[in-house]
């Protein structure tokens, strides 16, 4: 009897043994750092002498000093997310329904950019758009860009870079949701005299929504915090909040301001994501429905 209870207890403890090491790692190196960053954001002083004194003014000071970069980051990343969606949806659709025997090859091409380093891809775009490069010269000959005009150091270049770099994150979830779809539903809609357009809007699009939600989140979140594209493709007028945080932490060693900005960024992000999934449904993010079997 006692033995039986012991076995039952040991069984109940199994998931905790399995979970323990990994979750501990995440608590120690994700949750605890957040606490210390919160603490740092309320300190005052000049490097290397900081004192903790609840200086909430760090938040208002940081935001009023860098509000331009803060809002610019959200604008750029929203623009890049919308552009990605417009490019990715028809592509995912083409691969899922018209790919035929080339489907796997097309998917391979979609993830091929991941086989080269993120920084090198961005550097390649810097080369393509560079001032004496082929693209700028051609556009200048055609008169589309003035003779001293540039493509680098423009808003367009940074948004294009963000769009390009996160495109696979948009394509893959949309493709996955379209691929799983039961195509007989579209046939049924057409049997009921729906036009192709209507069948797409009323059947295919709603079914692929979880993919769209996952794709937009996977694009929007990293794009907002990104500072590589602004660094390589943008100029002084295109710096984003990521550039500011990086520079405050690693160059100016103004840790309290940097920590406060990181917190504002994360809080804004969580609020946006929360509102977004409230409207769009959580399955895409958590995968809980699938998990319940």
């Amino acid at each position: 009897m006692r033995n039986g209870r012991l076995v039952a207890l040991r069984r109940r403890l199994i998931p905790y043994w399995l979970l323990g090491p990994g979750i501990l790692w995440l608590i120690l190196f994700f949750v605890v750092p957040m606490y210390f960053m919160g603490r740092l954001s309320l300190e005052s002083g000049i490097f290397p002498e900081f004192q903790f004194d609840w200086s909430f003014s760090n938040y208002s000071d940081a935001l009023s000093a860098y509000d331009t970069q803060f809002f610019r980051a959200f604008q750029y990343s929203a623009a890049a997310t919308i552009l990605s969606l417009l490019i990715a949806y028809p592509l995912a659709y083409a691969i899922a329904f018209r790919g035929g025997r080339w489907k796997n090859a097309m998917l391979l091409a979609v993830i091929a950019p991941f086989f080269t380093t993120y920084l090198i891809r961005t550097l390649a775009w810097e080369t393509i758009l560079s001032d004496n490069g082929f693209v700028v010269n051609t556009l200048q000959t055609l008169g589309l860009v003035s003779n001293d005009g540039r493509l680098l150091a423009t808003t367009g270049a940074v948004v294009a870079g963000l769009t390009y770099n996160f495109l696979p994150f948009m394509i893959l979830p949309i493709y996955a949701s379209l691929e799983r779809m039961d195509t007989s539903l579209v046939e049924a809609a057409k049997d009921l005299y729906a036009s192709s357009r209507k069948a797409f809007l009323r059947v295919t699009l709603p079914i692929s929504m979880p993919g769209v939600v996952a794709g937009t989140l996977l694009t929007f979140i990293p794009a907002t915090g990104d500072y590589i594209n602004a660094q390589f493709l943008g100029g002084a007028k295109q710096t984003m909040i990521g550039n500011v945080i990086q520079s405050l932490y690693l160059k100016q060693t103004d840790y309290p301001a940097a920590a406060a900005l990181s917190f504002i960024l994360m809080a804004t992000m969580l609020i946006i994501v929360f509102i977004y999934i409230r409207f769009a449904g959580t399955e895409a993010l958590m995968g809980e429905e699938a998990e319940r079997r």
Partner: protein, 290 residues
């Protein structure tokens, strides 16, 4: 039938131009798809082409002439080679640790119902929904306050942290479709839980674990942002590129990028080929028995 007969001659009367236009309209989405994929491959093409460039100055930005001399000495630049070795070592270790920890978490989450399951789920997802710059900044805050000197250890801690969640997500998706009656059958035949796990569970979820490990490796070797905050004086491959971007990128960076691209492509092809072969073998066996 009659209607079709009526349209056929009409179709033949169409001019070549309008026939092309019809074909384009019918295949518009496919044509678009091919163009979009072409766009996605532009930078890769440029990287491969510029690895054969013979740049005039320090900056490899304009085409100056074809040369193989840099390909003859791809590992000539010591700093670059050291950075690459560091990245490979770091990615291998981070992959190993995060794959083991992540697989264990996935097993717990899918197999068991327990107190704290929901909270654990959130703890897995939230790091993936946090901008990398915040991950890096918060880790740096922790290391600063504890006075930990930055280096390989802090890099490893950080890389394992952001890889775990992705391993869990990949392995979990494989576990969800798992047929548990196979395990029960093994236990009915007298296998103890450990043997069942080793002989039945592990081989069946192995593709998921490999996929998770590959993703972790790719994330780790490609990471710039978190490493930027936690590396101290250590220089990984992406950090080297970032530093060199201001001084002028040597051609060797493009050569190594081309090599990495080719190796990954071959590895992918090999995995797919092996999978197909395994499927073929599996499908042949019952027929042979008949």
């Amino acid at each position: 039938m009659e209607a079709r007969a009526a349209t056929l001659p009409a179709q033949r009367r169409l001019s070549a131009g309008s026939r092309v236009w019809r074909w384009v309209r019918q295949n518009a989405i496919l044509i678009y798809g091919v163009l979009a994929i072409g766009y996605m491959l532009i930078p890769i093409g440029l990287i491969i082409v510029f690895s054969f460039n013979d740049p005039a100055g320090k900056f490899n930005f304009t085409w100056n002439g074809f040369t193989l001399s840099h390909w003859a000495h791809p590992f000539e630049i010591t700093e670059l080679t050291n950075a690459l070795t560091l990245s490979l070592r770091l990615a291998a270790l981070a992959t190993l640790i995060s794959t083991v920890l992540g697989t264990m978490i996935a097993l717990a989450l899918v197999r068991y119902d327990f107190f704290g399951r929901r909270a654990s789920n959130y703890l897995i997802v939230i790091p993936t929904a946090t901008p990398e710059v915040v991950l890096g900044a918060s880790l740096l805050s922790l290391f600063l306050i504890y006075g930990l000197s930055l280096g390989f250890t802090t890099l490893l801690i950080a890389h394992v942290m952001f890889c775990i969640s992705f391993v869990v997500i990949v392995v979990r998706s494989r576990l969800i479709g798992f047929d548990r009656s196979l395990e029960e059958a093994a236990q009915d035949l007298g296998a103890d839980p450990f043997t069942t796990f080793r002989k039945i569970t592990l081989p069946l979820i192995w593709p998921g674990i490999v996929a998770g490990a590959l993703l972790a490796f790719a994330l780790s070797i490609d990471d710039f942002v978190v490493s930027n905050f936690t590396a101290g004086t250590e220089v990984t491959f992406p950090l080297y590129i970032f530093g060199a971007a201001q001084r002028g990128i040597p051609v060797q960076v493009y050569i190594i990028a081309t090599m990495l691209f080719a190796i990954t492509l071959l590895a992918m092809a090999f995995t797919v080929w092996q999978q197909r072969r395994a499927e073929r073998l599996a499908s042949v066996r019952p027929e042979q028995e008949v």
